[in-house]
Symmetry: C2
Subunit: 193 residues, 2 copies
């Protein structure tokens, strides 16, 4: 393919001049950066640090997908999502994180793994990058969640996932992952007058 995503991006590039920590929380780390714009002027950028994460699309033999539900305090609701987790510091191979997260959150293990691709999560302010994996040949087992973690596990058909989308009960990584695995139906939507 002749198309190169990064080609000819020099006219867009911003150069980091300085970085100042503005919040060092337990999980959240925020910085205020100063950058040089392509036209030579400077500008401020506020960003959230993230070590990166992996997401797993576990597809059962009948084509349904294993989703997990947990409370998401930031959005004040419970969401159904594909299993996912932050990469450990120093963890070299994201596929190892993927295997661990699938088993810990759902109890399932998988015979076959495929790497689907990589995408940014919220690039306007977050460094978070997400590695996507497809897991097939599933074997049921026992989840190993932390004592303070409550997670529901359920199989979803593509039609039920559209229902989640309409109810605002899932997230972009789940829709993106299911789509890559061919498990998301086209959405008819509703006409806007």
């Amino acid at each position: 393919m002749s198309f190169e995503p990064d080609a000819d991006a020099a006219h867009l590039r911003e150069e980091l001049l300085s970085r100042t920590p503005v919040f060092e929380g337990r999980l959240l780390h925020a910085y205020r950066d100063e950058v040089r714009l392509p036209d030579g002027r400077t500008a401020g950028r506020e960003i959230v640090h993230h070590r990166g994460a992996v997401a797993v699309v576990p597809v059962a033999p009948d084509g349904r997908v294993v989703l997990v539900r947990q409370w998401r305090h930031a959005v004040e609701r419970a969401l159904w999502e594909i299993p996912a987790g932050t990469r450990d510091r120093g963890e070299e191979d994201p596929s190892g994180t993927a295997r661990r997260e699938l088993e810990e959150e759902t109890g399932y293990t998988a015979d076959r793994w495929r790497f689907l691709g990589q995408a940014c999560v919220s690039p306007g302010y977050s460094r978070e990058l997400l590695w996507f994996y497809l897991a097939e040949g599933l074997h049921e087992g026992t989840a190993a969640t932390d004592p303070d973690e409550t997670i529901d596990v359920r199989l979803f058909s593509p039609g039920e996932v559209v229902h989640l989308l309409q109810a605002g009960a899932t997230d972009c990584k789940t829709l993106a992952g299911l789509a890559m695995a061919g498990r998301l139906a086209q959405v008819a939507g509703s006409e806007v007058p």
Copy 2:
């Protein structure tokens, strides 16, 4: 459909006890919350505030999709994304934001609009909610970007989008939006040993 996304989530629900601002930036606002867990214990949660955003999937008559490229300092690369923008404070109708963002970023206007659904962006730590719209019947025009904003505009086929995914040159909202509009091909991926 019998499935209700929010049904039976009481065993997951966390209750907000207190909220403390920890960073008030120009765009980024972070809080440390204390919550009561379902088992009665308390826990801390660090979250980033967000007013919510809209994303537009602009589909041309030949089936290609209009994407925009801009520098994303947080991830130190230029990304190709569907047009999107944060909702203005007090802006009632997200479809109005969608029309404005499409025209400002790409110059295109659209005859037909459909609301596709709503999804969280990074629910582990961000309040960001995203409204998705499909725009069809496109008319080319002139973009109205700010003087300090540099944005590239280009039409992409579904195959070219898979190439973006493999290069880590797009984001989850773009993949999710294209999938909803039926413009994302299933991804074969590569086997993990």
